[in-house]
């Protein structure tokens, strides 16, 4: 079986390594072949950008050479796909090379698009790239007081970031002695502090305890950078001194250009992770690239990749898939500089977050290092 993986992020890398381990003998015997086509020779642990924004990590700590993470049996080409010819079962890359496949795995991820909201890109800081996270820290370190407005666009990658960035900034400015001069103004698109009801039930009292003001049903419509003013679709106007945003996201432009899915997200079966429609037998979609109504997060990508890898290996060995993806997600929630909790849920079981504690924060800090074992398909 010729397997072509498009995308070298969390989903693509974990999938490719997991399959390579399961099919080691088939790869050696030439009965299977795995090719990865990706846009960068670097692999980035994106959840670490939160810590860069707080001055607690530097971008180089979050990068590895992609080749160093992949099983040697995987053929890596830093040569992104430009054309998906699904009917003919091949893709064409930027260099003009054609790769034929029996099974295509699309894991191209999502990207922030703050420019879709007028004024947002000019006025706001966010932590969705290494460069933006460094800029975030510059602005936060220079902040001397005033109102910090937090806005949340839809859809967005990493559903815990709105809470995490707010709690992290609170602790950062508290330690600088700026609590009395700072007002936090947290907004959220729906009628509670977080999409997960039980997480919102925990977060709102935390906000109250820390003096963080919250406004719900706030979907950012436009920003007036000159006057420091944000307006919502619901008709609210809020002044700010520092605007922090979780920007809206889209899928990759190549997905839209090839008409594989609206806004760059591909229609995907929630259990089999197969592309919906006539190419279901030859296309799997993983991670942020799906249009599934579940969290766009590294954790989702990780668990989807494991389920898909197990199925693909079983297909090669026995001709039958063996697993359905059950919607499993496990997200840490940093609740400040030294405490954390988590949310674990699937399609049928909501999360039951516990009170934050130091041990869970230590676990998160350890996982930030252990991630490289996950990327290699080992953890």
């Amino acid at each position: 079986m010729r397997i072509v993986v498009v995308g070298g992020g969390m989903a693509g890398t974990i999938f490719a390594n997991n399959v390579a381990r399961r099919l080691a003998s088939e790869l050696r015997a030439g009965k299977a072949r795995i090719t990865m086509l990706t846009a960068s020779d670097k692999h980035v642990y994106q959840p670490g950008w939160l810590y860069v924004a707080m001055g607690r990590m530097t971008p180089d700590e979050l990068e590895r050479e992609q080749a160093s993470l992949l099983d040697p049996a995987i053929a890596l080409h830093v040569d992104p796909v430009r054309t998906f010819a699904l009917a003919d079962r091949h893709v064409v890359t930027a260099s003009g090379r054609t790769h034929e496949y029996d099974l295509l795995v699309i894991a191209t991820g999502s990207r922030p698009v703050p420019e879709e909201i007028p004024g947002l890109k000019e006025a706001a800081i966010h932590c969705y790239s290494a460069e933006d996270a460094l800029h975030f820290y510059d602005r936060l370190a220079d902040f001397t007081g005033g109102r910090i407005l937090i806005t949340v666009g839809l859809p967005h990658k990493c559903p815990m970031i709105p809470l995490e960035i707010t709690f992290a900034m609170h602790d950062f400015l508290h330690d600088k002695g700026l609590s009395d001069k700072t007002e936090f103004y947290y907004t959220y698109p729906i009628g509670r502090a977080h999409s997960l009801e039980n997480v919102a039930r925990w977060a709102s009292p935390e906000f109250e305890r820390l003096g963080i003001r919250q406004e719900t049903f706030f979907n950012l419509k436009e920003v007036d950078p000159a006057n420091g003013l944000a307006r919502s679709e619901e008709g609210a106007e809020v002044k700010f001194d520092l605007l922090v945003t979780v920007p809206p996201h889209r899928g990759q432009a190549v997905i839209e250009a090839n008409k594989l899915g609206a806004n760059g997200f591909i229609p995907t079966d929630r259990y089999s992770l197969r592309m919906v429609g006539e190419h279901a037998d030859s296309v799997i979609v993983l991670g942020d690239t799906t249009n599934l109504p579940i969290s766009k997060a590294g954790s989702t990508a990780h668990f989807e990749a494991e389920a898909a890898a197990e199925n693909v290996a079983a297909l090669v060995k026995t001709g039958r898939a063996v697993r359905q993806y059950d919607g499993k997600v496990f997200c840490f929630i940093e609740a400040g500089k030294d405490r954390a909790t988590y949310a674990m849920f699937d399609y049928t079981h909501p999360p039951q977050p516990k009170a934050p504690n130091a041990a869970m924060h230590a676990f998160k800090m350890a996982y930030n290092k252990l991630y490289w074992a996950s990327a290699r398909g080992l953890l």
């Binding site: 839809l154 859809p155 559903p159 698109p189 729906i190 009628g191 999409s195 997960l196 009801e197 049903f217 979907n219 679709e233 619901e234 008709g235 809206p248 609206a262 806004n263 929630r270 109504p293 579940i294 969290s295 919607g327 997600v329 949310a343 849920f345 399609y347 049928t348 909501p350 999360p351």
Partner: protein, 77 residues
Amino acid sequence: MAETTLVDARGSFCPGPLMELITTLKRAQVGDVLELLSSDAGSAKDVPEWVRKVGHVLERTERDPAGVWHLFVRKEK
């Protein structure tokens, strides 16, 4: 031309049905109707509340025998 788009948010705890609706509605055309499927009973309350706040129209709400809510929302602006 106005279209009806299905937003299947069954089994979605995060981002959840209302966030899925807002996401899709944002990029729909004025006049389009979205049919939101939700297995969360809370959608029958929070979707109408948000739709009213923003100024869209909730055309109708149904609950099928399987307990799934179908909420039909028309984009007004």
